[in-house]
């Protein structure tokens, strides 16, 4: 049960700055996710919390106490890796028991804990197998079990689901949520998959080029992205961006935009919020259909509108073909506006 604090944390590799002045508090028992494109520094943060990577400057605290200089084994953390990092020469039982045996837990207790964890993760039939005899999902569960068995203060997960196929990934996501409910341990999760981050986390932190771009509960980040990066990264399919001055053409928006009238800006609208209809109505705009993509429940349509390619949503049955004209509406309350030069949210 630990609160984790990052205080002006910096990390440099040679001269390149990887993490630049990170200040953040992760609450006790929180499921907290760092999400961002590859190379944004999220794994580096995890490794610094684990003690596998040194800190250039700043401080990381557990419950207010600096953990600087503590070797990984003494931080009372457990980590799950993308490759699972199971010890290939040990059976599942030995893998699960390893953190306990290193800590010289008596063999009887060890045995009992292994049985308990194996039952929890449905691994009992595989205890005497070697990792290479297991499927991806089973290996993943062994890796989780090895982390859980010690009842650590903090859980670190480095893209633990990335090696699984899509169906299994969704299953394990639910499994992770269940485990976090059963063992409410402060968890730091790292992923590049925004959907995974949204689905799992109490709060997410968006990282880009070593800097924190936005931090908050997933719904909040989704509803009010703080900047262009955040707007483009969260949400699938990604938000449409339309540049600048032409927006005065939209009569229903004029009043809202009045105060920004002479500034260059970028308007964003999520494809889910952009309704496409077949016929012209009041307040509709028209565009040429470029591309259709059906997912069953919805059809995504890419339109060309005044030199912009924008994507919108329509119901499952839509008789539109390429190069035809389609009409769309932009609900004004769903519009996001960003300053063009700074990328910050205006409204």
């Amino acid at each position: 049960m630990t609160e984790i604090g990052f205080h002006s944390l910096c990390k440099k590799f040679k001269k390149t700055s990887v993490i630049d002045d990170l200040n953040l508090t992760i609450e006790n028992r929180e499921f907290f996710t760092f999400v961002g494109p590859s190379g944004c520094g999220k794994s580096t943060i995890l490794n610094m919390v684990a003690g596998l990577e040194s800190i250039t400057s700043g401080m990381i605290t557990f419950d207010g106490h600096s953990i600087d200089g503590l070797p990984p084994g003494e931080r009372d953390i457990a980590m799950v890796f993308q490759s699972y990092a199971l010890y290939p020469h040990m059976t599942v039982r030995e893998n699960l028991a390893f953190p306990l045996s290193v800590r010289k837990v008596p063999s009887a207790d060890r045995q009992r804990e292994v049985e308990k964890i194996a039952a929890l993760l449905a691994l009992t039939p595989f205890l005497s197998r070697l990792p290479r005899e297991l499927s991806g999902g089973q290996r993943q569960r062994v890796a989780l079990g090895r982390a859980l068995i010690r009842k650590p203060k903090v859980f670190l997960m480095d893209e633990p689901l990335s090696n699984l196929d899509a169906k299994l990934r969704i299953e394990m996501r639910t499994e992770l949520k269940r485990l976090h409910r059963e063992f409410p341990v402060t968890t730091i999760y790292v992923t590049h998959d925004q959907e995974e981050a949204m689905a799992l986390s109490d709060r997410i932190a968006l990282l880009h080029e070593g800097a924190l771009r936005q931090c908050g509960p997933p719904q909040e980040v989704y509803a009010a992205p703080a900047n262009l990066f955040s707007a483009g990264f969260i949400g699938s399919p990604p938000m449409n961006f339309i540049e600048g001055t032409l927006l005065l053409d939209l009569p229903f928006l004029a009043s809202r935009l009045a105060e920004y009238r002479n500034q260059p800006f970028i308007a964003g609208i999520r494809p889910t919020d952009l309704r496409i209809t077949g016929e012209k109505r009041e307040n509709t705009l028209s565009g040429r259909v470029l591309f259709l993509e059906t997912t069953g429940e919805t059809t995504w349509i890419d339109l060309e509108w005044r030199g912009n390619r924008i994507r919108g949503k329509t119901g499952p049955v839509r008789r539109t073909a390429r190069d035809e004209t389609a009409y769309f509406t932009i609900p004004p309350e769903k519009l996001h506006l960003f300053d063009k030069s700074s990328g910050e949210r205006l409204w």
């Binding site: 684990a50 003690g51 990984p72 457990a78 990092a85 290939p88």
Partner: protein
């Protein structure tokens, strides 16, 4: 057809490699009179006379024991130092790893003949002349570069995440070395052990220079000193050669199984 050609080629290569050894084996079984005659190609009748005489007339067992001690000690020493150093170079944040490896490699580029006299002076100054220790130290130093290079490669091939996982699970660097890294590098350890052992078993130049009595003399030197004043006992040399090759063969066959076992026990994912 393809298989036939392949088999024929394989036979040819085997014959080429095994030829001298077979010849030596045949020679060791021939009577003294048949030794210099051809035909007969095959010993007729085969005789074990040479084998009897090498064990009766020479301190061969003592020499084999010396070789065994020297080779085993060199192997153990080279692998103990080499595996630890290789682990550090592959997994720990050591500054200038590349430079260290190159420096180590460069020391093995001097031909032995260039280093034999300075080494002899060192050995004599240390009072180690005619002692197995002189050979153990020399062989260890000569096989360390190879050991280091091969093992560094093996340790590098073990995913970093396994080392990290071990550290997080509570291991000190030493524990993660003995409990995780070493078992996983076993194939490399065995392969290197065989190479170091064979080198130490067969080495001639240093052994000839540093030893002077049967107290420390090793096999290659021992056999080289077989010839007497007036004759070269080909039969006995051949018999001794066969005898001292057998332990190596046994060693390789034994460890070969371990190497293959080790190789198939890898696999982190997929």
């Amino acid at each position: 057809m393809k298989r036939l050609v392949f088999a024929a080629l394989l036979m040819l290569v085997s014959l080429y490699c095994l030829g001298p050894f077979l010849w030596q084996g045949l020679t060791s079984l021939k009577t003294a009179a048949d030794l210099t005659r051809l035909p007969p190609l095959l010993p007729h009748p085969p005789t074990l006379e040479h084998y009897r005489s090498i064990f009766a007339g020479h301190p061969l067992l003592r020499i084999i024991a010396n070789s065994f001690i020297v080779a085993t000690a060199s192997t153990v020493l080279a692998l103990s130092i080499g595996s630890l150093a290789a682990f550090a170079l592959a997994k720990l944040p050591v500054p200038g790893k590349g430079a260290v490896l190159l420096l180590v490699l460069s020391t093995s580029m001097f031909p032995p003949i260039a280093t034999v006299s300075p080494l002899y002076l060192l050995i004599r100054a240390a009072g180690l002349r005619d002692s197995p220790v002189s050979l153990i130290l020399t062989y260890t130093s000569f096989t360390l570069p190879l050991t280091l290079w091969v093992l560094t490669h093996f340790f590098r091939n073990i995913p970093d995440e396994l080392y990290r996982a071990a550290r997080i699970d509570g291991c000190t660097p030493w524990q993660s070395f003995t409990r995780i890294m070493l078992p996983l590098a076993a194939p490399g350890i065995f392969a290197t052990a065989i190479l170091v052992f064979i080198f130490s078993w067969n080495e001639f130049l240093f052994a000839l220079t540093f030893t002077s009595t049967t107290a420390s003399r090793t096999i290659p030197v021992g056999i080289a000193l077989f010839p007497g004043l007036h004759e070269i006992p080909w039969g006995e040399i051949a018999a001794a050669s066969v005898v001292v090759t057998l332990p190596l063969l046994f060693l390789v066959f034994f460890f070969q199984r371990r190497i293959i076992e080790g190789l198939t026990a890898g696999a982190v994912k997929g």
